[in-house]
């Protein structure tokens, strides 16, 4: 599986670290909304198809990326720097 880093170009998946589901909405740190925190920690869409994900190019430029990956085929549909918002165009 290759992921195309917006800085480094196509690299083997071994250079990347999965940072989790890109659909999570982290509540404000002071939030006391337990449902919101519960959803942030536990609720996952787990789609069979396109999925918003956060990856880090930990073995390269170390940038955090938002990636849309198809969970069935492992096709990488898009990559972008995570800076500037984590929502990508995959199913959410």
């Amino acid at each position: 599986m290759l992921i195309t880093c917006p800085y480094c170009g196509p690299r083997d998946v071994i250079e990347f670290t999965y940072q989790g589901d890109g659909n999570r909405e982290r509540p404000q740190p002071a939030s006391q909304d337990l449902d919101a925190w519960n959803a942030y920690v536990y609720d996952r869409l787990n789609p069979a198809g396109d999925h918003n994900e956060i990856w880090q190019h930990s073995g390269g430029c170390r940038a955090h990326l938002r990636v849309v990956r198809n969970t069935i085929t492992h096709e990488i549909l898009s990559t972008a720097f995570a800076r500037g918002g984590h929502k990508a165009e995959g199913r959410s």
Binding site: Y7, C8, R11, I14, E15, G59, G60, C61
Partner: protein
């Protein structure tokens, strides 16, 4: 800095650094390995939006003009610079003291300066089979059109992080953590045996 009494820096490669020809060199030496031992290895980072100002500072201090684009770089012999991450650059000088030259001009509003002169080891691989040996180590494209002269790349070899700059058509400078440098060096020597190598 020359007037200061600086302690002589020891090489982490020293116990396994054996000048001379090695491996399968009966039909010629196809790569030359050496430690370049630069006096200064710096990491410069710009805050978002400050990259152009930092590039201008690099030009003023070193005389090196960074080309546009990710991983762009250039070298002049004594000095080298290349991008290794968004807004981040490695700057190298044969002489010590380059950090002092940058210290006053990279203000906190522009970015940061980290002196890695004692934290990295610089290894040079040169020769007609340099691309071949490098391609066994790193899963990136070393062909000249994909990895142009002066350009830099961040990658790793079995979890040993490496920054690589192409400093010649058949020459690469590899920067690795000093603590991993001897292990990396030994692996590089083994990988070079099949083509015949000389340590200078």
């Amino acid at each position: 800095m020359a007037e200061q009494q600086l302690p002589e820096r020891q090489s982490p490669l020293e116990p396994d650094y054996h000048p001379g020809s090695h491996g399968n060199f009966e039909h010629g030496v196809d790569v030359i390995l050496s430690e370049t031992r630069p006096g200064s290895i710096l990491q410069l980072a710009a805050w978002p939006g400050e990259e152009k100002r930092l590039i201008e500072i690099i030009r003023k201090v070193t005389g090196l003009t960074l080309p546009d684009g990710a991983g762009g770089g250039t070298s002049s012999g004594a000095r080298a610079v290349f991008g290794f991450a968004p807004g981040k650059f490695t700057v190298v000088d044969e002489a010590e003291g380059l950090a002092a030259a940058f210290a006053g001009v990279i203000t906190p509003a522009i970015g940061t300066l980290t002196d890695l002169s004692h934290g990295r080891t610089a290894i040079r691989i040169a020769g007609p089979k340099a691309e071949w040996v490098m391609a066994k180590f790193f899963a990136i494209d070393f062909a000249l059109p994909a990895f142009p002269l002066g350009a830099g790349r961040s990658t790793n070899h079995h979890d040993i992080f490496a920054q690589i700059q192409r400093t010649g058509a058949d020459q690469f400078d590899i920067y690795v953590f000093r603590s991993f440098a001897r292990s990396f060096w030994k692996a590089l020597c083994h990988a070079s045996e099949e083509v015949g190598y000389e340590v200078q």
